[in-house]
């Protein structure tokens, strides 16, 4: 017994160190495993409101660029409106449509904190559970895909950006619907790589990459980027594709969070399938 006490007395620094280290590993592991991230919900409020107050000052420096991008987006949206089209028919019938039902709705948000040079980058936005945002929703900007919502507090949400080792976004080539997975290798924030595209699929530079119809997070056809370079190693089954991302993460200010209204239904159905097997 005395030896035991002596042992604790002699190594108390190590024991303290050991338990604290254990604690941080548990927190880290839990966070990596479950995207619930209770730690972030606990502390997220503090850091987010800190960044919000910093951001409210620094936002003024970028107002011109924000205005330009919003104007450009307005212009494209306007060109899609009904009154931008020439009416070629003579009669116009209005049907209470049961064929088309809204599947996706969009929530706009401002970026309050962002990074691009870390291995795993996160973005904080100023909308949260109060505005209907939930974990695992897709996020896009006016140019292209941004990332996936990880955790949500009342007024804020954190997004795992596409520039993160754990983010995998299901994508496809626009011209032939060959699908692959968009993963970032941590090198350059302007480029990402598209993996698991089969080698028999023909690829040329400047092919457009868009989100695929397999994803429940994004609507089909949201632009992601362009093929910048591609190669095929001998004996390998998949292309190595470097994608030039449309989204400029370093100047990101406004984003849209996508709410998929049918997502639960689809996932319950697919869950049943797995359970049945």
């Amino acid at each position: 017994m005395r030896n035991l006490i002596f042992f604790f007395y002699k190594y108390y620094t190590f024991i303290l160190f050991f338990f604290l280290e254990l604690f941080s590993f548990v927190v880290l592991y839990q966070y990596n495993n479950y995207q619930k991230a209770s730690f972030l919900n606990f502390t997220g409020g503090i850091s987010s409101s800190f960044y919000e107050s910093i951001n409210s000052t620094t936002n003024y420096f970028g107002l011109r660029n924000i205005n330009d991008s919003l104007l450009a987006e307005n212009a494209t949206l306007r060109s899609q409106m009904m009154n931008a089209y020439y009416q070629s028919g003579t009669t116009q019938t209005s049907i209470n449509d049961t064929v088309y039902k809204q599947q996706y709705s969009y929530i706009s948000a401002n970026v309050v904190n962002n990074s691009v040079t870390k291995r795993n980058n996160y973005i904080t936005i100023d909308k949260g559970a109060m505005h209907g945002i939930e974990p695992d929703m897709g996020v896009i900007s006016s140019n292209g895909v941004v990332g996936i919502v990880t955790s949500v507090s009342l007024h804020f949400a954190t997004i795992r950006s596409a520039l993160n080792g754990n983010t995998k976004i299901s994508c496809m080539l626009k011209k032939n619907n060959a699908f692959g997975s968009l993963e970032w290798n941590g090198d350059d924030p302007k480029f990402s790589s598209l993996k698991y595209v089969n080698k028999h699929v023909p690829i040329t530079s400047n092919d457009e990459v868009v989100t695929s119809n397999y994803s429940t997070l994004f609507p089909e056809g949201i632009p992601v980027g362009q093929v910048y370079a591609h190669s095929l190693d001998a004996g390998d089954n998949f292309h190595v594709i470097k994608v030039n991302l449309y989204t400029d993460f370093s100047t990101l200010k406004n984003v849209y969070v996508i709410k998929n209204i049918f997502k639960d239904e689809q996932q319950i159905l697919e869950g049943n399938l797995k359970g049945g097997n």
Partner: protein
């Protein structure tokens, strides 16, 4: 004693703010990620009890985690560095250094001792942090380059910071 405590708290806040608002925004490349906040742990007086240093470094890491959406990551790395600091000082400092309230600084220990001390502990911290961050040895050499270049910039920034803020420390 109270004045000293206030000095440390102010210094802590300043260093954390500089890390978050200035250094984190140096987005030169994905290979340059300096973490100069460890300066606070590195400049705790040499005579401070090791367990206090361990506690302080875990706390510093926790504060950084809160602001960078990475629970546990900085805490584990900084805690590890704080623990190793005790060993390093034990073998590189004389008895007299442990007697007074000497902070490891250029003016007290000389530039060469200081640079070696900073480089070794920063390297330990960065190795732990960067490999833990990607959680595998899959990108071993790329991560190694990130570690080496980030360590260089961290030491550079820390040395500049030391020259700026710690010049007038009383004897």
């Amino acid at each position: 004693m109270v004045i000293e405590l206030i000095t440390y708290i102010v210094r802590f806040l300043l260093i954390i703010l500089i890390q978050l608002l200035v250094v984190n925004n140096i987005e030169l490349s994905t290979y340059v990620n300096p973490y100069m906040y460890i300066l606070f742990v590195l400049t705790i007086p040499i005579s401070m009890k090791p367990w206090v240093v361990v506690l302080i470094s875990f706390f510093t890491g926790m504060v950084m985690d809160t602001f960078s959406s990475t629970p546990g990551l900085h805490m584990a790395a900084t805690g590890f560095m704080g623990y190793m600091r005790g060993f390093y000082l034990q073998f590189s400092c004389s008895k007299e250094d442990f007697a007074g309230r000497i902070e490891p600084s250029i003016s007290k220990k000389g530039i060469i001792w200081y640079i070696v001390y900073m480089t070794i502990l920063t390297l330990l911290h960065h190795v732990f942090l960067f490999y833990l961050e990607i959680y595998s040895f899959k990108e071993f050499f790329r991560t190694l380059w990130r570690i080496l270049s980030s360590t260089f910039f961290t030491v550079l920034i820390i040395t500049i910071g030391q020259l700026l803020f710690y010049r007038n420390t009383k004897t």
